[in-house]
C-alpha cells in the first residue's frame, strides 16, 4: 500500500532481540541444562551422570563465550544490524550499554547455574 511504504520505519524486532540477547542466552542455557538433566535422568539410568555433566559443561561454555562477545563488541554487532545513519548517538550508546550490562548480569546467572554441576550429583535427590 502506497501510504504505508512512505512511513518512517525501523528495525525494531532485530534491535530489541539484540538488546535482549544476554538474557535470551540465559533462557536457552537454563532450558537446556534443566531439560537435558531432567530427561537424561529419567531415560539414561546409570549413563545419565556422564551425559548430564558433558552437556552442561558444553552449553555453559558456549553460553559464556556468546555472552563474552556481547560484552566486548556490542557496538560492532549493533552496527552490523542497524546501519541507520540518522539514529541519535545517545540512542546508540544507550543500546550498546543495555546489551553489555544485560550480558554481564547473564554471565553471573549462567555461571551460577553451570557450576552447580561440580558440587551436586546429577540425578540423585538429597531430600
Amino acid at each position: 500500500m502506497a501510504t504505508s511504504k512512505q512511513v518512517f520505519s525501523e528495525k525494531f524486532i532485530g534491535i530489541a532481540l539484540l538488546a535482549l540477547a544476554g538474557p535470551l542466552i540465559w533462557v536457552v542455557h537454563f532450558a537446556v541444562v534443566y531439560g537435558v538433566q531432567h530427561i537424561a535422568c529419567v531415560t539414561l539410568g546409570n549413563r545419565a551422570e556422564f551425559w548430564v555433566a558433558a552437556s552442561i559443561i558444553v552449553i555453559t561454555v558456549l553460553a559464556l563465550l556468546a555472552l563474552l562477545v556481547l560484552i566486548v563488541k556490542p557496538d560492532d554487532i549493533l552496527q552490523r544490524l542497524d546501519k541507520s545513519q540518522t539514529r541519535e548517538e545517545t540512542t546508540k550508546e544507550f543500546f550498546s550499554g543495555i546489551i553489555r550490562l544485560l550480558a554481564l548480569l547473564s554471565v553471573f546467572a549462567v555461571l551460577w547455574s553451570g557450576i552447580a554441576l561440580f558440587f551436586l550429583p546429577a540425578c540423585a535427590s538429597v531430600a
Binding site: 501510504t3 548430564v52 540512542t91 543495555i98 548480569l105
Partner: protein
C-alpha cells in the same frame, strides 16, 4: 506526501491558533454523562474506575485478613469454623494477588501512561474499558462467593489433588478456576494495550533512552504477563477439564501428576511477584528523583535491572517446589537463579539510595517520601529473607511455616503496597482538584508501617519455632499465643492506617482538573496542564525530564504550539511514533464511547459464571452474544484512509491509516500470537513432563494412527494458509468487489476446521479416549487448543467476508484481512508443531 522522518521547522509554533479549536477538542473528548457514563473510554475515567475497584478489593481482602487474624489471636479459638477459615485464607490470597495487585498496577498504567507519554489516550481505549468491566463484574461475583459458602478452599494456589472433584466436590473450586481464568484474560487484554501504548504512542523525540522509568517498568510488566499468564490459564483449563470430564492430567492413577499443576502454576506464580513489584519499583523511581530534585542516578542500570529481573524471574518457579523431592541438581539451577535475581533488585535499591544521597540534604520528607522510605526498609528485609529461602536446606526448614508468610508479606507489601500508597499521595493532584492531606498521610504511613512490622516481623520467629501456615487454630501448649496476639494487634493497626487514608481520600480527593499544576515540581510530562483531551498539544521531547530541561514547555503545550493541537479528522486521534526513536509515523483514529465493549464484558462474564455452575445452554447463548458485541465493536475499528493525510505541525504531514508492521493493530495481533505461543509452549512442556513421569501410558508405534492421517491434516492446514495468502493478492481496488477474495478466505478457514476434525477423528478411530490416561488427555488437549484458534480464525474470516460485501475491504483498506491472515498463519504453525510432536514423538521413543 511530506517526508515523515524529520520536522521541517522548529517548534514551538507561535502562530495564533484558529478560533474554536480547543472547543472542538473539548466536544470530541467530552465525558458521557448520566447512564451513558458506562460507555466512557477516556483513560482517566477508566483508570480511576480501575484503581478504585482494585482498592475496593484490597479493602475487602484486608477485612478478610482481619477476620483471620482475630481467629488466630488466641489459641483454640472458635470464632469461625475450620471450613470458613479455609475459604477465608483462599479468598484473601486470591483477591490480593488476582483482584488487587495486578489490576492495581494495570490501572496505574491506564491512568498514568498516556499522561506520561503525552498521548491523548492509549491506542485501544475500548480494550482498556472492556478489561476493566470484565474485571469488575467477574471479580465482584467471585468475591461474593464468600458470603454464599461457595468460595474456593484450596489456598490461593489451588494444588491438586486437594482441588480435584474427589476431595473438593461442589462448585467452590470451579469459581476459582473459571473466575480467575476469566480475570487473567482481562489482564492480558490490558497488557497488550500497555505494550502497544508504550512502544507506539510516545511523543515525538521521546526515544527509548528518554522513556520514563515507570513506562519501562510497565513495558517489562506487560511483557511478563504475556509470557507468564498463559501457563496458569492452561493449568486452570486442565484442572477444570479434569474436574468436569475426568481427563486425568493430575491424577496419578491415570498417568497424570499433581506436580504438573505446581510447575505450571509457579511458572506464572513466581514471575507474578515481580509482575507486581516491577511497576511499583518504577513508581518509586519516578517519585525519588522529584523529591530529591535531581535526576535518577543510574537510569541505564535501572532499565537493565528491570529487564534482567523480568527474565530471571522465569527461572525461579521450582523455588516454590524445593520440598517436592526433585533431584538436587535441578534444585540448584533454580536456587542459583533465585540468588541471581537478587542482583538486579539490589541495583534498583542502591540507585534509589544513591539518588536520595545525591540530593545532599534537599530530599523532601513528605508523605510520598515516607511511604518510599518505608518500602525501602520493608522490601529489603523481604529481599534478604528471600535469599535465605532461596537456599534449599533453609527452605526445607521454613517451608509452609509462618516464616514464609512473613517473607511473602515483606516482599509484597513492601514491594507493592507501600509504593502504591506513595503513588496515591504523589499523583492524586494529577486527577484531583485538591491534594491529599499531609497530616493524615503521615498518620496513615506511621500506623501502617508500625502495624505492618508488629504483625509480620516476629512471624519469622513463630515460623522458625514451628507455626505452620493455613492452620485454623493452634494448641495453647505450643506457646504461640502471645506472638499471634501481637500479630493480630498489628493487623488492626494496619487497618487503622488504611482507614485514615480512606478518610483522607473522602475529605480531599475530588476528581477534576484545573487544580494545582505540578505541585511537586516534577520533571515528567504527566504534570503538563491537561483537560479531557489530555494535553492541548503533544510536545516534542528532548530529555528525560522535559519539564526541568525544556523551559516554558508547559505554557507552549497549553497554547497549542506543539504537535496536533487540533482534531483534523474530526474525531479522537493521537500520534503514532516509531518504537525506538519515537519519530512520527501516522495518526490513529481512535474509537470514542460506546456500549459494545461494556456488553461484551457483561456477556463474557455471564458466560464464564454460568459455565461455573454448569448451566451450559444459557452460558453458550451469552457466549454468542459476547462474540456479536466483539464483532460490532471491531466493525468500527478500521476507519480507512479517507481523512488523511493530515498536518500535525512542524512540517509533518501524516497518514491516518496504515497496514503492515507499522500499524498498531498488527502489533497487537503479534502480541496476541505471543500469548498463544506461550500457552502452547506450556502445553508442550506438559506433554514432555508427563511423559517423563508416566512413560508407561504412551502407546507403542503400532497403536498410533497411520501416518497418512496427520499428513492429510498437515496438508489441509498448509492449504488453508495458502488460501489466506492468495486472498490478500486478490483484493479489489477501492469501490470494487472481487468474489474470489471472500471465497478464498472462506475456503482457508474451512480447510483449517477440516484439518482439526481429521486429527481428532483419527485419534478417536484408534480407540484412544481422553479420560483413559494422561496421554489421551494431552493428545485431545492439542485438538482443543488448535480448535479454539481455528474457531477464532473462522469467526474473523466471516467478519472479513462481511466487510468485503459492504465495501469496507479492498486493496487499500485491508487491516482486518491482514490480522486474520496473521492469526491463520500462527494457527497453522502451532498445529503443525502439535502434529509433529503427537505423531512423531511416540515413534521416536
Amino acid at each position: 506526501m511530506a517526508n515523515t522522518s524529520e520536522p521541517k521547522s522548529a517548534l514551538p509554533n507561535t502562530l495564533p491558533r484558529p478560533e474554536g479549536e480547543e472547543e472542538q477538542l473539548l466536544r470530541i473528548w467530552a465525558q458521557p454523562a448520566g447512564w451513558r457514563w458506562f460507555t466512557a473510554v477516556n483513560n482517566t475515567t477508566i483508570g480511576l474506575l480501575y484503581i478504585g475497584a482494585a482498592f475496593a478489593f484490597f479493602v475487602l481482602a484486608g477485612l478478610v485478613a482481619l477476620v483471620m487474624r482475630t481467629q488466630l489471636a488466641v489459641p483454640e479459638n472458635h470464632l469461625v469454623s475450620q471450613d470458613l477459615y479455609n475459604q477465608l485464607f483462599t479468598m484473601h490470597g486470591t483477591t490480593m494477588m488476582f483482584l488487587f495487585a495486578v489490576p492495581a498496577m494495570e490501572a496505574l498504567g491506564v491512568l498514568l501512561l498516556p499522561q506520561m507519554l503525552a498521548a491523548r489516550d492509549l491506542p485501544f481505549p475500548r480494550l482498556s474499558a472492556f478489561a476493566v468491566w470484565a474485571y469488575i463484574i467477574g471479580g465482584g461475583v467471585f468475591f461474593c462467593t464468600i458470603f454464599l459458602d461457595l468460595a474456593p478452599k484450596g489456598g490461593w494456589f489451588m494444588y491438586p489433588p486437594l482441588t480435584l472433584t474427589e476431595y473438593s466436590p461442589g462448585d467452590n473450586a470451579d469459581f476459582w478456576l473459571l473466575g480467575i481464568g476469566f480475570i487473567e484474560i482481562s489482564a492480558i487484554a490490558g497488557a497488550i494495550e500497555i505494550i502497544v501504548g508504550i512502544l507506539r504512542t510516545r511523543p515525538p523525540g521521546m526515544s527509548l533512552d528518554k522513556l520514563p522509568i515507570f513506562a519501562w517498568s510497565m513495558l517489562v510488566f506487560a511483557g511478563m504477563i504475556v509470557v507468564a499468564f498463559p501457563a496458569v490459564i492452561l493449568a486452570t483449563m486442565y484442572l477444570e477439564i479434569e474436574r468436569s470430564f475426568g481427563w486425568p492430567f493430575f491424577t496419578a492413577a491415570g498417568g497424570g501428576d499433581p506436580l504438573l499443576w505446581q510447575h505450571l502454576f509457579w511458572f506464572f506464580g513466581h514471575p507474578e511477584v515481580y509482575i507486581i513489584f516491577l511497576p511499583a519499583a518504577g513508581l518509586v523511581s519516578m517519585i525519588v528523583p522529584t523529591m530529591a530534585r535531581t535526576p535518577l542516578v543510574g537510569y541505564k542500570l535501572i532499565v537493565v535491572a528491570l529487564i534482567a529481573t523480568g527474565f530471571f524471574s522465569f527461572g525461579l518457579w521450582v523455588h516454590h517446589m524445593f520440598a517436592t523431592g526433585i533431584p538436587a541438581l535441578s534444585l540448584a539451577f533454580f536456587s542459583a537463579t533465585s540468588m541471581a535475581v537478587a542482583v538486579p533488585s539490589g541495583i534498583q535499591v542502591f540507585a534509589w539510595i544513591a539518588t536520595i544521597a545525591s540530593a545532599k540534604g534537599r530530599f523532601q520528607l513528605n508523605t510520598p517520601s515516607l511511604f518510599v522510605l518505608g518500602m525501602l526498609f520493608i522490601f529489603t528485609v523481604g529481599g534478604l529473607t528471600g535469599v535465605m529461602v532461596a537456599m534449599v536446606p533453609f527452605d526445607w526448614q521454613a517451608h509452609d511455616t509462618h516464616f514464609i508468610v512473613a517473607h511473602l508479606h515483606y516482599v509484597l507489601v513492601g514491594g507493592m503496597v507501600f509504593p502504591l500508597f506513595a503513588t496515591f499521595y504523589y499523583w492524586a493532584p494529577m486527577v484531583s482538584t485538591r491534594m491529599l492531606s499531609e497530616r493524615l498521610g503521615k498518620w496513615s504511613f506511621w500506623l501502617m508501617f508500625i502495624g505492618f512490622n508488629v504483625t509480620f516481623f516476629h512471624m519469622h520467629i513463630t515460623g522458625l519455632i514451628g507455626m505452620p501456615r493455613r492452620v485454623w487454630t493452634y494448641s495453647e501448649a505450643s506457646g504461640l499465643g502471645p506472638y499471634n496476639f501481637a500479630s493480630t494487634v498489628g493487623a488492626y493497626i494496619i487497618g487503622a492506617g488504611v482507614l485514615v487514608f480512606i478518610i483522607d481520600a473522602m475529605r480531599n480527593f475530588r476528581v477534576g482538573r484545573h487544580g494545582m499544576s505540578n505541585p511537586w515540581q516534577a520533571g515528567t510530562l504527566e504534570w503538563l496542564p491537561t483537560d479531557v483531551y489530555s494535553t492541548r498539544s503533544i510536545p516534542h521531547v528532548t530529555s528525560r525530564e522535559p519539564l526541568w530541561d525544556q523551559p516554558n514547555l508547559s505554557e507552549q503545550v497549553e497554547a497549542g504550539e506543539h504537535y496536533l493541537p487540533n482534531a483534523p479528522t474530526g474525531g479522537r486521534e493521537t500520534i503514532v511514533t516509531s518504537a525506538i526513536e519515537a519519530k512520527p509515523q501516522y495518526v490513529i483514529q481512535m474509537l470514542g464511547p460506546g456500549w459494545m465493549h461494556f456488553f461484551a464484558a457483561v456477556f463474557t462474564a455471564a458466560c464464564f459464571l454460568l459455565l461455573t455452575i454448569k448451566v451450559v445452554v444459557p452460558a453458550l447463548v451469552y457466549g454468542v452474544l459476547a462474540i456479536v458485541c466483539f464483532l460490532v465493536w471491531a466493525w468500527e475499528l478500521d476507519k480507512g484512509p479517507a481523512k488523511g493525510p493530515i498536518d500535525i505541525g512542524a512540517g509533518f504531514k501524516l497518514p491516518v491509516y496504515v497496514t503492515g508492521p507499522v500499524g498498531h493493530g498488527w502489533w497487537a495481533m503479534v502480541i496476541l500470537m505471543l500469548v498463544a505461543g506461550s500457552l502452547y509452549f506450556a502445553y508442550l512442556f506438559s506433554y514432555l513432563y508427563i511423559w517423563t513421569v508416566s512413560p508407561g501410558v504412551w502407546p507403542s508405534a503400532a497403536s498410533l494412527p497411520r501416518l497418512q492421517w496427520p499428513a492429510v491434516s498437515a496438508l489441509l492446514f498448509i492449504a488453508g494458509a495458502a488460501f489466506f495468502a492468495v486472498a490478500k493478492g486478490t483484493l479489489p481496488e477501492p469501490g470494487e468487489k472481487n468474489l474470489l477474495t471472500p471465497l478464498l478466505v472462506l475456503l482457508g478457514a474451512l480447510l483449517s476446521v477440516l484439518a482439526v476434525y481429521m486429527e481428532i477423528r483419527c485419534q478417536w478411530q484408534t480407540g484412544l479416549r481422553p479420560a483413559e490416561s494422561s496421554y489421551g488427555a494431552l493428545v485431545y488437549m492439542a485438538g482443543v487448543l488448535d480448535g479454539q484458534l481455528v474457531f477464532a480464525v473462522l469467526i474473523m474470516s466471516l467478519f472479513v467476508i462481511a466487510r468485503h460485501f459492504t465495501g469496507k475491504l479492498d486493496r487499500v483498506r485491508f487491516a482486518s484481512l491482514e490480522n486474520t491472515n496473521l492469526l491463520a498463519y500462527y494457527t497453522v504453525a502451532q498445529a503443525l508443531t502439535g502434529l509433529l510432536i503427537i505423531h512423531g514423538f511416540p515413534r521416536m521413543i
